[in-house]
Amino acid sequence: MIKLTKFLHPELAFDCPVITNQKAVFQFVARRLAEQRLINNQEVLVEEFMKREQQGSTGVGHGIALPHVATEAVNQIVVAVVRLNQPMEWDAVDGKPVHLLVMIIAPPDQRKLYLQVLAEVARSLNQPTIRDKVLKARHPAQAVRIIARPPHEGFIKRNRRLFIFLLVVAVIFVLARIVLPTIQLPASDIYKDYTKFNFAPWLFRQELTITLFLAMILGTLLFWRFRVAIAGAGLGILLAAGVMDLETTVRFMSIPTILFIMSMMIIVRWLQNIGVFRFIVIKAMEKVHGVPWQLLLILMGSSVILGGFADEVSAILVTFGLALEVTRRTKAPLVPYLLCLVFATNVGSALTLIGNPVGIYIAFAGKLSFEHFLRWATPVSAIAALIIMGLCLLIYRRHFFGFRYKLDFAELRKTTETVDPTRLRTGIITFVTVICLIALHRRIEVWLNLGESTALVAVALLTLGFIVFHEQERGRLLVARGVDWWTLLFFMFLFANAACLEYTGVTTKLGYIIHHVANAFTHARAGAVGVTSTTAVLVLWFTGITSGFVDNLPIVAATVPIVKDLIRIGLPHASILWWALLFGGCFGGNMTVIGSTANLVAVGAFERATGQSIRFTEWIKVGIIITVVSLSIATVALLLQVRMAP
């Protein structure tokens, strides 16, 4: 390994005055090097550099160029760092102007060392943190020092996120130790079986459970890649501390929910592989003949429907993929499509029981059927989706009105012509059959005298069996790759952690507080129904706002036991709270770029396609409007229907 400090010296760092062409820059540097007697022929050096640039630009991107030559003009390796006071076009690979040159000149007989120096400089500048520091250096000599000896982050700085995490967890534990003993459940009729939660050992169990649960939420925010490890470790601590036994833990993992989500992942992946969703959306797009606003509405409508009847990730992958193709052909801006489609997908995912893991979890926890969703969730989500589609058109009107795309649909159609028609037909028939059977699951359960949600899981598993059998050799791959096992494992640990909040009485205490707060905010004349309405609004906006900043499923999983408890204590029409939770969890995801999985998937595709990233503020300024509007629609719907809820 070579040391760059041997070759990079602060005295060979120059500020280049405003010069408008490459040759003038090279002449400037050659003159300065000649002054220090490092080169023996200025003209030859300039000529060699110019020849090198003609053989391909040395602009490596990110505002940096590495002109390098092997020439007789030097006797030893010379590295000069030049900062251009005026950024200059360098025909760099990324098309960006160059701010900084690191020029490497070597005698021909030191080719091996020359390549090593070049590689080491390139390696150093390839690291984004170093590159940023070099470009922001106050003077060229500082840039030299940074390239030659990149600052190594100390142990504390390197692990600062871990320290913040541990510190916050410790603070949470201390707060839990202080606050939880002060919340005393009364010995009234409602709570008489729960007064044990006021005393040891339950108090310590509550403190530990809530600390671990909040640590898991914080952990998923700070260390997303390690969310399974964090949730698994949390569960391990609960087991080791004797808070739960193994049998209870497995029961809390909500295996039926996991089985259903897993089966649906495979079904949707299979349909996506066949091209069913893409085929349907392209067919719909053909109808609008290149009118931009109609095309956007078709794509948003498809996102809503696929978000509701397939899943949010597949919906955004299909519709945003098509939007990419449209914008590539028409040169239309992609950001409006990105945001509009994500908003539509998130709102659409509340349409039915199967659109979002949040909906599935609520359905199983609240023993709600597909028909319940059709009655309570579909109309509100559909109205919210329609209003948001209009709002998006209004916000982005200048991108969609007053002109027409010259779009050749024959090319788009060609991509569906490669799809095997028999497989496509099988896929469409299976998709429609599964949706119909899932929609009728409660009736099937009554008819066959089965337990609640049994038919739901059975239909999903039967379809899974059919698909794997039908796909034969590919079936194995489909199961291995079609299921996001990582996420599924996280869900299992998360559900067990969340159910432990209920088991140790944390959610009973939280439910008690929420009930009191809702009472305090409700006018006396509104009565018990008024308390339910206030609670529903609180739940909706709390889950809505927090879901914008934290993964929505942990928030919903933690709130589910509270809702169960509020139903148990006899709050009238309390089942309305399930819908408040659903709308909050799904609609709130629109607020920020990290609000839902669909957002992250779409932004990833956007970055890969354009090489650009979307700013947090750019998202939130539209996201906040969409979230507030959709949550307001849900608020009105819930308040109007509260007396109709069981």
């Binding site: 991107g61 990110h62 390549l115 390696r123």
Partner: protein, 136 residues
């Protein structure tokens, strides 16, 4: 036909020769980028000193390979430029878009850690054709 060829540099000599031949035939500029293997991607975010040192050595070797190839291309009269950004399977699309290349060449060996599998949404969204070489 291919004005700019984006080549994610692999260790295989046969691949390099193929790129050189193709670039000569089409009078193309070759854009050279390293490829970051999945295990190195993980190491980048870990703090183990040993892993980091191994990773740095691997990086040095890759950059050395890139510039050696650049020299070869230069002596063969092929225009070339180096990109200061390691490609990974996940950001090929982004690299192709920013460099506005007309062809991407990727070695199958670079897909080894991803089970020789490209991300599903990659091919339909690439702005240009992709050749996967499979040299012995």
């Amino acid at each position: 036909m291919f004005e700019k060829i984006l080549y994610l540099v692999s260790e295989k000599q046969e691949d390099k020769e193929f790129v050189m031949k193709l670039a000569r035939q089409h009078n193309s500029t070759v854009l050279l980028s390293g490829i970051l293997h999945p295990e190195h991607r993980q190491v980048k975010t870990r703090s183990s000193t040993r892993d980091k040192m191994l990773h740095e050595d691997q990086e040095r070797k890759e950059w050395h390979d890139i510039y050696r190839l650049e020299e070869k291309l230069k002596s063969a009269g092929v225009r070339s430029s180096v990109i200061a950004q390691e490609g990974s399977i996940d950001n090929i699309q982004m690299l192709a878009t920013t460099t506005q290349c007309d062809l991407i060449i990727l070695a199958a060996s670079n897909l080894e850690d991803d089970d020789y599998k490209l991300p599903e949404d990659l091919l339909p969204n690439l702005p240009c054709p992709l050749i996967i070489t499979n040299s012995p």
